[in-house]
Symmetry: C2
Subunit: 203 residues, 2 copies
Amino acid sequence: MKRSEEFYNLMNKRRSVRTFSSEPVPMDVIKNIVNTAGTAPSGAHTEPWTFVVVTSMDVKQKIRAIIEEEEEINYKKRMGKVWTTDLKPLRTTWIKEYLTEAPCLILLFKQMYSFREDNKKKLHYYNEQSTSIAGGFLLTAIHYAGLVSLTSTPLNSGPALRALLGRPSSEKLTLLFPVGYPSKDCLVPDLERKPVDQIMVEV
Amino acid sequence: MKRSEEFYNLMNKRRSVRTFSSEPVPMDVIKNIVNTAGTAPSGAHTEPWTFVVVTSMDVKQKIRAIIEEEEEINYKKRMGKVWTTDLKPLRTTWIKEYLTEAPCLILLFKQMYSFREDNKKKLHYYNEQSTSIAGGFLLTAIHYAGLVSLTSTPLNSGPALRALLGRPSSEKLTLLFPVGYPSKDCLVPDLERKPVDQIMVEV
């Protein structure tokens, strides 16, 4: 009981952060966080995930250019009024400064298949769900370590990012997490969470 | 650094468990675990998840009957040799004793949309990914509290389970987790996890 409450209180302090300090994060901490994500369960134990950790400013700038170009089209053309209205409380735009400000970006790719030793294709069952669950483990580990992040889904930028980072065609970008410390003047939207009786049903 | 290592060491002890003791879990612990899952991020803060917590033996038996009927067809007909061979190391069959043995089942439904106060449909962006990420939070909370679970995806049983539990058609079953303590004679398959250099790429 005490343990379950302690973990809830800790995780309840987590917020998605959009402005980062440039203070670097030790690579050993990143490795522990990625290793923790790797303890997630996966369909038939296929472990269908690749975590690409980017700390090079040059590569971060290239990633930002790709994403902002697509996002500008998303906001201005592809997405309707409903979508942009729904996003208003979050005050997001297509300008993504966090992509170069954060000391580290973690790009999570799902592996749709791999190859066995005999070169036969090995299917990765439930790779979408497994990879997102591992993303959940990654976020709890980031928060437990005293770092902050933002869960993002770079719409339509997946193929260009995959090419930039040299990942094989068996992989698809699922999620992108900037990781670091919050900036001094960091603001987060004043959102409330649903109480337990709105998300839980007892039978 | 110490914190990130501590959490990795703790989470690395997690294993998927398939045989449960019938010892009940206090509902307050379950509530803390579900609340922790509810701290997960979601697309445009839609919190598109419903956690149905089943402790009634009668309902657990009905759930088991639905799933075993579908699973027998999955194993015998729907799925090919590759799938059943891939599952062999896990020694799973269509008999799912854990569905009635575990004191508690948590069925995680994704909400594809909801209704605003003015009765207009509110779309839930990325509800699949958000719900699976919340499933990741749920699993870390279960493990942190000293409990065990199994991540399962009841193939083709979703609609019947949705009807049994009276969930609306805007919801779809994503994951099912039995939760409890391991049985005394509990065995887990001897699986290894990929080392960090196989899941992480530095750029």
